[in-house]
């Protein structure tokens, strides 16, 4: 027994066992089952084990699929660009312009607290702002910018993107700030001594050194947006669609095989995107 416990591999396995168990039962098996069910057939009341390609045929044969996937990529791209520019600026301010560590921690916490509160409520919070009689419209009306209420503020692509940026910018701020804090300030001093301007330091020193953080933030934001269904449903007032909504609509109709086929394609898409992004960063080294 002593000898067994001294064996590093076995103690390692024992300690990793609960983790592995949870991930196998609640991640691997469910994914395998989704792949299996994507080949099944469905009637109105039940799903029947089979091996048919009709779910995939239907998925790839429908023009809706392509436009919905395109829309999903559009949301991901726009949200990525916005969260990156906002997140980078915020992290840059915290890391290089706030001078005491106490203030850095305090302001950083202020940025992260919303992450630990409910996303649903944070979405609901936009209603009084964006509605037809909301704050934005009243402000624009009274300042004379517009003559009648703007209809596209709430329940539109604009609202969807706004909510995404609101919910997910933190996922950019945190990893970028984390990487920035590890940049050796001597490098920046050296660049300044060598005559670099502020912009040159930013472009040639800080941004290259911050790339791993940017990549990790990108992975978070892109996967969260691509896998989302609830933000799009709520903020677009069910007028726009992304892949997640395609799946959730099928589920609502109990069309599990069709939902599973869409899910498989979505999963592959996300994994390919992540695979590409992971080539640029070694996550374990960056923590």
């Amino acid at each position: 027994m002593e000898n067994i416990l001294r064996n590093k591999a076995i103690t390692g396995w024992l300690m990793a066992a609960p983790l592995a168990l949870v991930l196998v039962v609640f991640l691997v098996l469910p994914i395998l089952l989704i792949v299996v069910v994507s080949f099944w057939q469905a009637t109105e009341f039940s799903i029947i084990p089979a091996f048919v390609w009709e779910n995939y045929d239907f998925l790839f044969g429908s023009p809706v699929t392509y436009s919905v996937f395109l829309n999903t990529f559009k949301y991901a791209a726009i949200t990525w660009a916005l969260t990156l520019s906002i997140g980078f600026t915020v992290a840059y301010f915290l890391a290089f312009h706030v001078r005491t560590q106490t203030w850095q921690i305090a302001l950083f916490l202020l940025c992260t607290i919303p992450f630990w509160t409910s996303n649903i409520i944070r979405m609901i919070s936009w209603i009084p702002f964006l509605g037809r009689n909301g704050i934005a419209n009243s402000a624009l009306l009274s300042s004379g910018v517009i003559d009648e209420p703007v209809e596209w503020l709430l329940f539109s692509d604009f609202a969807v993107i706004l909510a995404f940026v609101h919910l997910y910018t933190l996922f950019m701020v945190v990893p970028i700030f984390n990487t920035m804090m590890r940049i050796d300030h001597a490098l920046i001093e050296a660049a300044r001594d060598a005559g670099a301007s502020g912009v040159q330091i930013l472009w040639n020193v800080i941004i290259p050194l911050t790339k791993p953080g940017i990549m990790i933030g990108t992975i978070f934001v892109v996967t969260l947006v691509m896998g989302d269904f609830i933000t799009v449903r709520f903020m677009s007032g069910s007028q726009s669609a992304n892949v997640g909504r395609l799946i959730s609509n099928d589920i609502a109709l109990l069309a599990y095989p069709s939902a599973a086929a869409t899910a498989v394609v979505l999963l592959l898409t996300v994994l390919i995107v992540i695979g590409v992004l992971l080539r640029f960063v070694d996550i374990r080294k960056e923590l």
Binding site: T11, W13, M15, L23, P30, P114, S248
Partner: protein, 279 residues
């Protein structure tokens, strides 16, 4: 100290606007939840009152809010404890570089990036196909762990990357058994980070929507209940519930941060006597 450059003020203003963007909407619904009885979902305020909060406590026609709150709270605690224990064990395991660690690591990353509706759908199918009832405390619990565990482990990786191995070696040299080293050296050192893991475990579970959607069975958790309300409740009672839930979240966050702060203070006070000795 050198004077602040002009860019500081521009960036500080940007940061201020960002905070306003982050918190403004939540503060707005907090204000609007004090609408008078005749008020609507947006400004102007028609008087101020606690009408909508009282409504929340009295009338149960909108659903089972308090039941769902109790379930969410219990589930949050279950997920929190499990996340802390499993993450610490997993973090310790990964330091040993056991065979298969690489595969397990990629599994953790997969859990982090997989769209949450897939977990919901897959776990739901798994339970229904194996003849089990979905229930928030079984399938819902497991589905949420696939989201909280990766965060817990990433924190543990970050902690152990910075962990000074000479403490352990010193303990071993003094004759401590592996268990004693863990109990009296490693755990006390990583304890403050465990508060962070616990905070992630509880709040991510308490607010989780998508992963519980198809796995909670016939009893809703609070986020599911609130989402249900958005489709059929059009009075400020929705804001009152949102405000209460947010206040509760803030209290929880405050409690965790408070514990972290106190333990950091105690650690600083206990301090190290290195260099103060009898040289």
């Amino acid at each position: 100290m050198e004077p602040r450059p002009r860019s500081f003020y521009i960036l500080a203003a940007f940061f201020g606007v960002f905070l306003l963007f982050l918190y403004g909407p939540t503060i707005t619904i907090a204000i609007l939840s004090f609408q008078g009885p005749g008020g609507g979902l947006t400004f102007p305020m028609r008087g101020t009152s606690l009408y909508w909060f009282r409504d929340l406590f009295e009338q149960q026609a909108v659903g089972d809010i308090w039941g769902s709150f109790r379930r969410s709270f219990a589930l949050g605690l279950m997920v929190m404890v499990t996340t802390v224990v499993v993450s610490v064990m997993g973090g310790l395991a990964f330091r040993k570089r056991f065979p298969g660690a690489g595969a397990l690591f990629y599994l953790i990353i997969t859990a982090l990036v997989i769209p949450s509706i897939l977990v919901s759908l897959g776990v739901g199918l798994l339970f229904s196909q194996s003849g089990l009832q979905v229930h928030w405390a079984t399938s819902g619990f497991g589905a949420q762990l696939t989201w909280t565990l990766p965060f817990g482990l990433l924190i543990m990786f970050a902690v152990f990357n910075r962990f000074d191995k000479s403490f352990e070696e010193a303990a071993r040299d003094l004759g401590a058994t592996p268990w004693q080293t863990l109990r009296h050296v490693i755990l006390p050192i990583i304890a403050p980070s465990l508060i962070g893991v616990a905070l992630f475990g509880f709040t991510l579970s308490y607010d989780e929507f998508a992963r519980t959607l198809l796995t909670s069975g016939s009893y809703n958790t609070l986020p599911l209940e609130i989402f249900g309300m958005t489709t059929n409740v059009t009075t400020p009672v929705l804001y009152a519930l949102g405000t209460l839930t947010t206040v509760f979240s803030l209290l929880i966050i405050g409690a965790f941060l408070g514990i972290a702060w106190i333990s950091a203070r105690r650690k600083a006070r206990a301090g190290s006597d290195a260099g103060k000795g009898m040289v």
